[in-house]
């Protein structure tokens, strides 16, 4: 059996708003609603809605033979709910056909797999549950953020009960081997691994509309003639790409939708290939060997490694600062902070800080709200600083508890002072200047004195006014309340 595995990533980050340092401690909202909404609306109209419609038609037309799979990040799901509920509805329709598999991933489209197992597992669980409620499927296949994979991550995923995982067919991992086989995790062979055929995937995703490409224009016929040249023993062709390829990266007028519409029929007519979902493939095909991936790989940039997110000191710093908070978060029960915690883990924030200016700069600038990676870093760190303040306020450790208590006390004291002054103003209004000026002076001074005594807690009124006087006169004053009165006069 020869089969094609069509997989699409659907993801939209919650992009941060411009958060200046003077907002730290003053503002708690971090997201650029306008930008996020307009991007989601735009991509929904250009891509998600028309592409879903075509796929639905194709599934109906080919009666059970055409199959696709999706991984929709939690961030995208939330934004669809907020800004484009009809997109969710159209995915639900796809789910109802039974020909579409939805994969699990991390809820926050995060890099948690690289840092913290507990956090990772929790996010995967969150995502899987949400997929179940939305689409009625319990995911059995897994796809990590940006196809990040290593032997250890695979083993972790296997432990969570997943049977198959998708990743990149990175050259430096495969060497002479072909991605067109079913592989298994090197630590736990129960987990099957599907590797992306990046040549044929990128012919569609990146090169489709490139007129200087010598294969332009790419038609479904031509594509099928290519896949027919794949040796017969190589059983699976993994075409993984961003769903935004259809209508957004490649605009509708490039003919990308026509390509999608024509492909299945030509595959069935002119080749022996079928379409399958990842879980079906894991079930039906035999594993040829284990794949050894000691260091994490991904599907990003030329290097196919982590350098797009964790390749420079800025990214490392932001990443480490963020995950230094994880223990605190675990004891937290504040839905607002939790939500921000997930949104801030989104891998895109780190992607924007990438300084590989030359080789992949253009891809990094796609929907990038920042002028420069430094700008992205500073903005993110400002937000993170504010988040840390809020987190510490919600969960004070011992030294901070004290500080906080002190601050609360200060606020209370100031309230009292304000009350006092208000009273004074009211009294002043009620009793106009009928009194003698001398008397008035004394009374007002008295009030000021008592007002200030509220500040330090344990001290008594008499002592305090004495120390006040000491400051005024610049001489050492006796501490008894009685003599302070005389000092007052002399200092006047």
């Amino acid at each position: 059996m020869k089969t094609i595995c069509l997989f699409f990533q659907v993801h939209q980050p919650f992009r941060l708003r411009r958060f200046r340092f003077f907002d730290i401690g003053n503002d708690q909202y971090y997201y650029d609603d306008y930008l996020n909404e307009s991007v989601v609306r735009k991509v929904a109209n250009h891509c998600y809605l028309p592409a879903n419609e075509i796929i639905l038609d194709l599934i109906k037309k080919h009666q059970g033979k055409f199959k696709v799979s999706f991984s929709i990040s939690g961030m995208a799901l939330e934004q669809f709910e907020l800004y484009a509920p009809e997109v969710l509805e159209s995915f639900r329709k796809l789910a109802q056909t039974g020909q579409v598999e939805f994969l699990a991933e991390t809820w926050a489209h995060s890099l948690a797999s690289l840092k913290d197992r507990e956090e990772f597992e929790m996010q995967v669980k969150m995502h899987a549950e949400r997929i179940k409620t939305l689409f009625g499927q319990e995911p059995t296949a897994f796809r990590n953020t940006e196809h990040i994979y290593s032997d250890e991550i695979g083993a972790m995923v296997a432990d969570m009960g997943y049977r198959v995982m998708l990743t990149e067919g990175a050259k430096h991992v495969l060497g002479w081997k072909s991605p067109n086989f079913l592989y298994a995790n090197a630590i736990n062979p129960k987990l099957k691994v599907l590797l992306r055929n990046f040549k044929l995937s990128d012919d569609i995703a990146f090169r489709f509309s490139n007129k200087s490409w010598n294969e332009w224009p790419l038609t479904a016929d031509k594509f099928v003639s290519w896949i027919n040249t794949i040796p017969p023993r190589e059983e699976v062709l993994n075409l993984f790409m961003d769903y935004e390829t259809f209508g957004e990266h490649q605009w509708a007028d490039t003919g990308i939708f026509e390509f999608l519409r024509a492909l299945p029929a030509i595959v069935f007519d002119k080749s022996t290939y079928q379409f399958s979902t990842p879980s079906e493939i894991a079930e039906k095909l035999y594993v040829v060997s284990a794949i050894h991936v000691p260091y994490p790989i991904s599907w990003a940039d030329e290097e196919r490694d982590l350098t797009a997110w964790l390749g420079n000191p800025l990214q490392e710093e932001a990443f480490n600062k963020l995950y230094s908070l994880k223990d605190k978060i675990r004891n937290l029960d504040d839905p607002g902070l939790k939500k921000d915690w997930y949104y801030l883990q989104n891998s895109d924030h780190f992607y924007y800080m990438c300084t590989k200016f030359f080789s992949d700069g253009s891809v990094h600038s796609y929907f990038n709200p920042y002028n420069s990676p430094y700008d992205a870093f500073i903005n993110y760190m400002n937000v993170l600083s504010d988040f840390m303040i809020r987190l510490n306020a919600a969960l004070p450790s011992t030294s901070e508890e004290k500080e906080l208590a002190r601050l609360y006390q200060m606020v209370r004291e100031k309230d009292e002072v304000i009350k006092k002054y208000e009273e004074k103003i009211r009294m002043g209004a009620r009793k106009p200047a009928s009194r003698k000026p001398a008397q008035k002076k004394v009374s007002s001074r008295k009030k000021e004195g008592t007002g200030t005594t509220r500040k330090p807690s344990g001290k008594k009124t008499g002592e305090k006014s004495a120390s006040d006087v000491r400051k005024k006169s610049g001489k050492k004053a006796p501490t008894t309340g009685k003599s302070s009165g005389t000092r007052k006069k002399s200092s006047k």
Binding site: R20, F21, F22, N312, L314, E317, I378, M381
Partner: protein
């Protein structure tokens, strides 16, 4: 190939970027075996570094043996009034001089010493326009007497000299635009300076601009055909071994430095406003405005008005080693220029391992990657960048490490090679 080059100043007698750039370029050219430079300045002091080139002062050329065509040049320039913003670079000493000399009035006669040489001050005084005219006069004589293949004139003060030499010799003229009056004046251009600049650009066979920013000003504001203007970026001299500092940092606070003439072009007010915003949020930082200029008093007043003078300091004009010491003390260098044709000073800061924030309206922003670029008017963005660099150490660590490498790769010999390519291009064009 022999090049006759006209400049206005040459180290150590400089007051701004023009002298530094001309010097660097000629140093770079000395590495090229096929280019020989004769550099002319109005006044040579005799202590200039002549290892790279032959330097002559126009004041050393006797003119008595020629029939003087003084009138034609004088007519063109002698009606100019000297307005203070016309003067590109000024230190306090010269500022004083201008005030005291204004009284003397405009005397219109040619100072010639007993050997028939014109006396040049070589400074930016009220006699500037006379000097430019006289300089051109002598340039014409040099143009007739010296052997060379082409003429290269630096900035507007030397354009008339270049034109005169071209008229005398018929050799091609290249002018090098280090700045235009649009940069210096902040938009309110002196029409007479503009006329000199435009005349130079039109007379030139090719124009070298120090950045694409300047190139587009030359094309758009002076109406020069784009194919005539090429960009050659400036570079920076490698840092010499520097003795331990004379000045010492006496505080633990972070230091953020602005270093340059305090004039409208450099955007000092944006620095103060940004400092004010940063000081509202953090205290362990001090801001230094080093330099002097016509806006200095206004800036001191503004700082006082904002009540930040306990954290915002003015050093006045810094000279020589003090500049390096100031840079080495700094944790951050900022150049919020409103219009900066190139801007060598951030490169010098980066050589001293100081992270930089530069305005996007500067030529140097076109070639630097390890620097934060902001719009000069975006005070919030400047403040945010300052805060970020001081509070998130990963950023400054990265800038120090990679910025140094980046700036070490900006070498004058590379710029000189590009200028040489322009020379050959112009000479070949003349032949065909």
């Amino acid at each position: 190939m022999r090049v006759l080059m006209f400049g206005w100043e040459f180290p150590p007698h400089i007051s701004g970027g023009l002298g530094t750039a001309s010097y660097g370029l000629t140093r770079g050219m000395s590495t090229l075996s096929d280019v020989d430079v004769l550099f002319v300045v109005p006044r040579a002091y005799g202590d200039e570094d002549q290892t790279a080139i032959r330097l002559i002062g126009a004041g050393d050329i006797p003119i008595t043996r020629k029939r003087l065509d003084i009138e034609s040049f004088r007519k063109k320039f002698d009606y100019l009034e000297v307005a203070s913003h016309l003067i590109p670079y000024m230190d306090p000493k010269e500022y004083e001089k201008i005030h005291s000399r204004e009284e003397a009035g405009n005397k219109r006669f040619l100072h010639i010493d007993e050997e028939g040489r014109i006396v040049f001050s070589g400074e930016y005084g009220p006699g500037l326009l006379d000097e430019i005219a006289n300089y051109a006069l002598v340039a014409g004589i040099i143009g007739r007497d010296e052997e060379f293949d082409l003429i290269h004139a630096h900035d507007w003060l030397a354009y008339p000299a270049g034109i005169a030499a071209k008229m005398a010799s018929g050799k091609p003229l290249i002018i090098h635009v280090h700045a235009t009056d649009f940069d210096r004046s902040g938009g309110s251009v002196n029409p007479d300076v503009y006329a000199i600049e435009k005349r130079g650009m039109e007379a030139a066979d090719r124009i070298i601009a120090v950045s694409n920013l300047t190139r587009s000003i030359v094309i758009e504001k002076y109406g020069i055909p784009p194919e005539k203007v090429v960009t050659v970026y400036n570079a920076v001299e490698p840092l010499e071994d520097h003795k331990p500092m004379g000045l010492r940092k006496g505080v633990d606070d972070k230091i953020v430095t602005f270093l340059g003439r305090i004039t409208m072009q450099k955007g000092p007010e944006y620095f103060i406003e940004a400092a004010f915003r940063v000081l509202k949020k953090m205290r362990n930082v001090r801001f230094i405005m080093a330099g002097s200029g016509d806006l200095m008093e206004k800036m001191i007043l503004r700082a006082a008005q904002l009540r930040i003078t306990d954290r915002f300091h003015f050093t006045g004009f810094l000279k020589g080693d003090d500049v390096f010491d100031m840079l080495r003390m700094s944790d951050l260098y900022i150049m919020p220029s409103v219009s900066e044709p190139f801007g060598i000073s951030p490169l010098e800061a980066m050589q001293s391992n100081v992270p930089v924030i530069i305005s996007r309206q500067s030529g140097v922003a076109e070639i630097l990657t390890y620097a934060i670029k902001v719009d000069f008017w975006d005070i919030d963005a400047i403040a945010d960048s300052i805060y970020g660099l001081l509070n998130y150490p990963a950023l400054s660590t990265m800038f120090k490490k990679y910025g140094k490498i980046e700036v070490d790769n900006l070498r004058w010999d590379e710029s000189a090679r590009q200028v040489r390519d322009v020379y050959y291009d112009v000479l070949n064009q003349g032949k065909s």
